[in-house]
Amino acid sequence: MRNVYLVTAFVVVLAVSILGFRGTPFTKPPIDVFPEWAFPGMKRQPKPYPQGASRFFADGRADRPLPPGVVSRDPLRNDYALYEGKAADGSWLRGFPSALTVDAKLMARGKERFTIYCAPCHGAVGDGNGITKQYGMGATPTYHDPRLRDMAEGEIFNTITHGKNNMLSYADKLLPEDRWAVILYVRALQRAQTGTVSDVPADHRKELGL
């Protein structure tokens, strides 16, 4: 009987040394207790998954690109100010589209979106000294030069939508409304750089020691 216990103990030690402990990193696909080949269709249905692979289409992906000439079923985007950044005469829009209300809410949204999508390169205050500058992205401009300060809002909208030279498009990450919110915040950053004492309300000047 002692031998039986010894053999059992040996098997346990052997199993633990082969199987290891919980949480050890491994690279092979996880073992499944009820594997898919034994119970087909239980966990995985033959259907296209988001960003998944497909053996049906030649390019191997389940997400289909739009065929050329496809017409959107969404409401017609004929508000050129909102969606293209252009005024009625085709020039870049100055100011903001009339479809949007410019208020503190839009500004807060713009600040949040700017911090996520623009600050890594353009920096938190828009001076072009984001974290990527230290790693060799020297071309990122500051917003605080006269050319960008005088640039029409519509042209900045176009830069975000279609990119410009080394800066690629952000249209897939920002909805048109969010792009305008970001522009509003960029304008605020630019304004902040040229602030003077007269911009500070009289009753707050003392707090700043002015």
Binding site: P30, D59, P120, Y135, A139
Partner: protein, 217 residues
């Protein structure tokens, strides 16, 4: 008739029963330890086609999760980034690095980068990122400290028990909306006590589903 069994054989049935009980205990312990997702999944870190590091990009560079996983607060599915997202920077930083050859090829030809999926729930479970993220559940609760991982590793079992643990008692694990994407942030309970966390849940009427049809729909 000669004696077939020695006297000690009298104890044998009892000894066998005792042994079987011990063996059953060992097998049960082994099965609970080795046959649950806590063992089979946690630690899964597949080799990716590009040695992309979250520790560098999300940790050291401090890029927000939403810069790449840009649909995570809008949609049920957290998307992987397009190769254009990588090229935003890598058309200037390390633009000739051999490690990024796959990404450049994908950007030029439109072929997908063959990333290997790490986390996956079965089809009979409904999971939605947006509802969790917008209700104060941070990525770190289900994915671990991604911002410190060189290679994405499956950190939590994502089993039914794991989901239900939180759905039954979310209070200790919710965060302020502003902290959800900061994986190093403290929960409301750590910051200002469980009282405040319960108040947060009550004010927003956060009631995670516990009925079967909530997740198996």
């Amino acid at each position: 008739m000669s004696k077939l069994f020695p006297k000690s054989a009298n104890k044998l049935p009892l000894q066998i029963i005792v042994y079987l009980v011990v063996l059953a205990g060992v097998v049960t312990a082994g099965a609970t330890y080795y046959m649950t997702p806590k063992y089979t999944r946690v630690g899964y870190a597949p080799v990716q086609p590009v040695p992309y590091s979250h520790a560098l990009h999300a940790g050291q560079l401090g890029i927000d999760c939403r810069y790449c996983h840009s649909n995570v607060e809008k949609s049920g599915v957290a998307n992987l980034p397009t190769s254009q997202t990588c090229m935003n920077c890598h058309n200037q930083v390390k633009k000739d690095s051999p490690l990024l050859a796959v990404v450049r090829h994908s950007y030029e030809t439109g072929e997908a980068v063959p990333w290997v999926k790490v986390h996956q729930t079965p089809d009979y479970v409904y999971f939605n990122h947006a509802i969790h993220v917008n209700r104060g559940v941070s990525c770190v609760e289900c994915h671990g400290k991604i911002n410190e991982m060189e290679v994405v590793t499956h950190a939590q079992p994502l089993s039914m028990g794991f989901c239900l643990d939180c759905h039954r008692n979310p209070a200790p694990r919710v965060r302020e909306p502003g902290d959800v994407f900061n994986l190093d942030s403290a929960t409301i309970a750590q910051k200002s006590g469980l009282e405040a966390a319960h108040k947060f849940l009550k004010d927003r009427n956060i009631k995670p589903p516990q009925s079967c049809s909530g997740c198996h729909r």
